[in-house]
């Protein structure tokens, strides 16, 4: 009931904002970022059981030269090759040669010798296995009968 003194106060109708689920996405992204920050910087995975392939280059060089020195001492090429394999170098012979050059430049002649020796032995083995002809397995070959044309001229 309104009279002259009273007026209807019209409150502006605030439209109900439909925010949708954006705040959920914001929360998810925020949480994800916090998780990544925690796992990459605060508490990262600690590698305790690495393999030699993941070693820093200078440590790899030390590992490689030790392999070469052991080979020079024992002459066990098979073992040296298997040890080099675990370094997972793309071209171990080339790397041995390059390291030998570096050692020579630094005046470490004995190391250079050992590295070059291993490189050349591996090279020889690799070259040998490439040039060696593979024997034909004639013993196990099955002879397949083929139809041949009759000889036109008699064989003398």
């Amino acid at each position: 009931m309104m009279n002259e003194d009273t007026q209807e106060i019209l409150q502006p109708q605030t439209p109900i904002k439909k925010h949708g689920p954006w705040y959920l996405l914001t929360g998810l992204i925020l949480g994800f970022l916090l998780g990544v920050i925690y796992t990459w910087w605060i508490n990262p995975v600690i590698y305790e059981s690495t393999n030699p392939a993941s070693l820093r280059e200078d440590f790899k060089d030390t590992y490689r030269v030790t392999i070469a020195q052991v080979f020079a001492a024992t002459g066990d090429l098979d073992r040296a090759a298997r040890r080099l394999e675990i370094l997972e170098d793309e071209n171990p012979i080339y790397l041995l040669g390059a390291q030998a050059q570096r050692a020579l430049a630094k005046g470490e002649e004995e190391q250079a010798h050992d590295l070059a020796l291993l490189a050349s032995e591996l090279q020889a083995v690799t070259a040998g296995s490439l040039t060696q002809p593979t024997p034909l397995a004639t013993d196990t070959m099955q002879l397949i009968p083929t139809q041949t044309l009759p000889a036109l001229t008699p064989v003398p």
Binding site: G31, F32, T39, T50
Partner: protein, 124 residues
């Protein structure tokens, strides 16, 4: 429950879900890769093989000081401890008797060297 409270709860749940996803991503899917690791992080079998290499070299040159220097490459622990750990691993994993003997020889050499130094420092 007011709308505001409900939104707050769902927002918190979303953060928790995102956090779980982030942790899963950071530890399992794409953990930090260490490419330039040090020798002390090597797996025990590789460490043992390195100790074996040092033993083979020691057998050849009988240079204890050099052997000890080489052993410090793979572990900051005392050299004798490094060799003993390697011997234990080798025994558990059936290394050949020749390899075990080589490592034993190195361990003995390091032990006798440290005894020698202890005696010298004690003025005996």
């Amino acid at each position: 429950m007011t709308r505001r409270t409900r939104r707050f709860i769902f927002f918190s749940l979303a953060i928790l879900a995102g956090l779980a996803a982030g942790i899963m991503f950071g530890w399992q899917v794409a953990p930090i890769q260490y490419k330039d690791t040090g020798p002390d992080t090597l797996r025990q079998d590789y460490k043992t093989d390195f100790v074996l290499m040092v033993s083979e070299l020691y057998e050849h040159d009988a240079d204890e000081a050099m052997a000890i220097a080489r052993l410090t490459y793979i572990s900051p622990t005392p050299p004798l401890e490094t060799v003993q750990t390697a011997i234990n691993y080798a025994e558990e994993n059936n290394y050949s008797s020749v390899d075990l003997q080589l490592m034993d020889n190195l361990a003995e050499a390091i032990e006798s060297r440290s005894l020698h130094y202890d005696q010298n420092s004690a003025g005996l």
